[in-house]
């Protein structure tokens, strides 16, 4: 893993000294804040709250508003990753030092993933607010954040791959948005197809039912394996793509 640390540190540093991260955090928290506000307004008038349809479930899975920030965050964080290095030519200086391509790709992904987690971190405050108003099962909250982290790992990995496909940040952003939204749409197939292979496949990749499961504290290994595969495979392809520029 030659060169992992310096690249990881520089990517994180650059994310936070440029406005990109701050604008992303601002928009993300604005959307999450709106989501949370509506949730509070909704539950204030509820007399009876079902145990598996409470505010935590609403916030992480049931509210459609959650999916805008959840799906858009990773593409916004990864669009620069490799596309900008290629556009500006800094990739040349980077890859001519004694580093290995897997280390560089992994460092880029790790920096994006850590940023992703950092952007999510302030939403823990919402849980604290809920706790002060009523009961919150912290194990369920942990499971929700595990779901968010696993999806984030997969989405940032897809984003890094898309960023390796082009020199343009905008194209990278659009490609990764297409990938994650495409995945969401395929998952909706679960509600459309009757029982059968199509239904099973759609159910397996569904982001919606994954978040529904995790928000109820249900950690299904199939989901975990799916997310980890979706993290590892794009990173592997990215490494091959980066080497392909050099040998093509």
């Amino acid at each position: 893993m030659k060169g992992f640390w310096p690249v990881f540190k520089r990517d994180l540093f650059s994310t936070f000294v440029t406005p990109v991260a701050w604008v992303t955090i601002f928009v993300f928290l604005l959307l999450q804040g709106a989501n949370f506000y509506l949730l509070v307004a909704h539950f204030t008038n509820q007399v009876d709250i079902a145990i598996d349809r409470g505010p935590v479930q609403w916030f992480f899975a049931d509210s459609i508003l959650q999916y805008f920030p959840l799906l858009m965050l990773a593409p916004a964080l990864t669009m620069r990753s490799l596309a900008e290095e290629r556009r500006s030519g800094t990739i040349e200086g980077l890859l001519t030092t004694p580093v290995s391509t897997p280390a560089v790709v992994l460092a880029k992904w790790a920096a994006a993933f850590v940023t992703y987690l950092a952007v999510w971190a302030p939403t823990l405050l919402y849980m604290i607010v809920l706790k002060r108003a009523g009961e919150v099962d912290w194990r369920v909250v942990a499971s929700c954040y595990l779901g968010v982290a696993l999806l984030g790992a997969a989405f940032t990995s897809l984003g890094v791959l898309m960023s390796a496909m082009t020199r343009s940040q905008v194209v990278a952003l659009l490609l990764s948005l297409a990938a994650v939204i495409g995945l969401l749409i395929v998952g909706i197939g679960e509600m459309i197809f009757d029982n059968g292979p199509a239904h099973d496949l759609c159910a397996y990749v569904s982001i919606l039912s994954q978040m529904a499961d995790f928000s109820k504290g249900l950690i299904d290994t199939r989901r975990v394996i799916f997310d980890l595969t979706l993290t590892a495979a794009p990173l592997f392809i990215t490494v091959r793509a980066v080497d392909a520029w050099r040998w093509g």
């Binding site: 030659k2 060169g3 640390w5 310096p6 690249v7 540190k9 520089r10 540093f13 650059s14 000294v17 440029t18 500006s88 030519g89 800094t90 040349e92 200086g93 980077l94 890859l95 001519t96 030092t97 004694p98 580093v99 290995s100 050099r246 040998w247």
Partner: protein
């Protein structure tokens, strides 16, 4: 230190480098000379380990750039064309990052950064964000980056491109100063650059090595049989006198300017070596005719002319003179 053997590289159907072989020995400063699009950058990128060649081998300090990439790349300080840098970092931050990438030991990093900033004289800009640097400073930061791990080999792609004359002079002095401790391969499309900084030149045209040799040999290539006269007096008379000279094949009046000064170009028959005698006679004749001679100098061929000369001879497989290195 650098050994390139039978290198081929094509982009799609375009052959950027064809059968290129050369060596750079320890302690040499070698200029890689060629017009734009000759394949200089491609070759340097392959040498630095950024691009892969289709065929051929590159050895850096005995390490194959493909088989032992880490060892080979550790020996090179590479400065890419146009010096891409991260605009959001400060100069010292950038150099520290590069030092870490190049595996300079943690304890030595601060000292290494200070040393290279002193070498290229950017200490006063250590805390400036790279985005705010002028072109000259960016170039120097790129050079500092190439130097930071004290590599034995420096590969510099157009180190003076886009600089103003003062900066060019500074960078050239800097490169000359590096020659003591480093082996340098630099590319340029400017002939005077090679003359100012290099011991030896490799001339590349359309991806092939067309000539290589010491600078004296190269400047011999630039000799022409044309002499450039600046005279004062009756221009027509001067023209007649020069035309009457033995061996003058073509006389051309270039321009008239104020105070009766005119500029004339005379092309002589025969080899360039024989011209000085003829010029002496011509000057005597002009003076004899009452025309004042202000200047009589041999005209040097431009690089483009040298290229066309070399490539023409290459095509006719002329193996005369002091040019080796034609494609074997």
């Amino acid at each position: 230190m650098i050994s390139v053997e039978k290198l081929y590289k094509s982009y799609g159907t375009v052959e950027a480098v064809r059968d290129l072989s050369f060596e750079v020995r320890k302690g040499e400063v070698v200029g890689f000379l060629g017009p734009n699009g000759a394949g200089k950058s491609t070759t340097l990128r392959i040498v630095a380990g950024f691009l892969g060649a289709n065929r051929g081998r590159v050895l850096i300090n005995g390490h194959d750039i493909v088989a032992e990439p880490f060892e080979a790349r550790s020996c090179i300080g590479y400065m890419p064309e146009n010096v891409p840098l991260y605009p959001e970092l400060r100069v010292s931050e950038y150099l520290r990052f590069r030092a870490e990438l190049k595996r300079v030991r943690r304890a030595d990093r601060a000292e290494a950064v200070r040393r290279v900033m002193r070498n290229v004289r950017v200490e006063d800009h250590a805390d400036v964000v790279i985005a705010k640097l002028s072109k000259g400073y960016r170039q120097r930061v790129g050079l500092a980056d190439a130097l930071i791990a004290s590599p034995p080999v420096l590969v510099l792609d157009e180190p003076t491109a886009g600089l103003d004359p003062n900066q060019i002079r500074e960078v050239r002095e800097l490169i000359r100063g590096l020659a003591a401790e480093h082996t340098v391969l630099l590319s340029t499309h400017i002939l005077t650059e090679v003359e100012a900084t290099c011991d030896r030149a490799l001339v590349i045209h359309k991806g092939r090595l067309v000539a290589q040799g010491a600078l004296e040999e190269l400047s011999k290539l630039r000799e022409t049989s044309t002499t450039h006269f600046v005279v004062r007096g009756d221009a027509q008379k001067a023209l007649d006198v020069l035309e009457a000279q033995q061996g003058a094949s073509k006389v051309r009046k270039r321009k008239d300017s104020a105070e009766e000064v005119s500029v004339l170009d005379v092309t002589w028959k025969g080899a360039p070596e024989a011209t000085p005698d003829k010029v002496e006679h011509a000057v005597a004749a002009l003076v004899g005719a009452g025309i004042a001679v202000r200047e009589a100098s041999p005209r040097k061929a431009s690089l483009e002319e040298v290229f066309s000369l070399l490539t023409e001879e290459d095509a006719h497989s002329d193996h005369g003179s002091d040019r080796d290195g034609e494609a074997k």
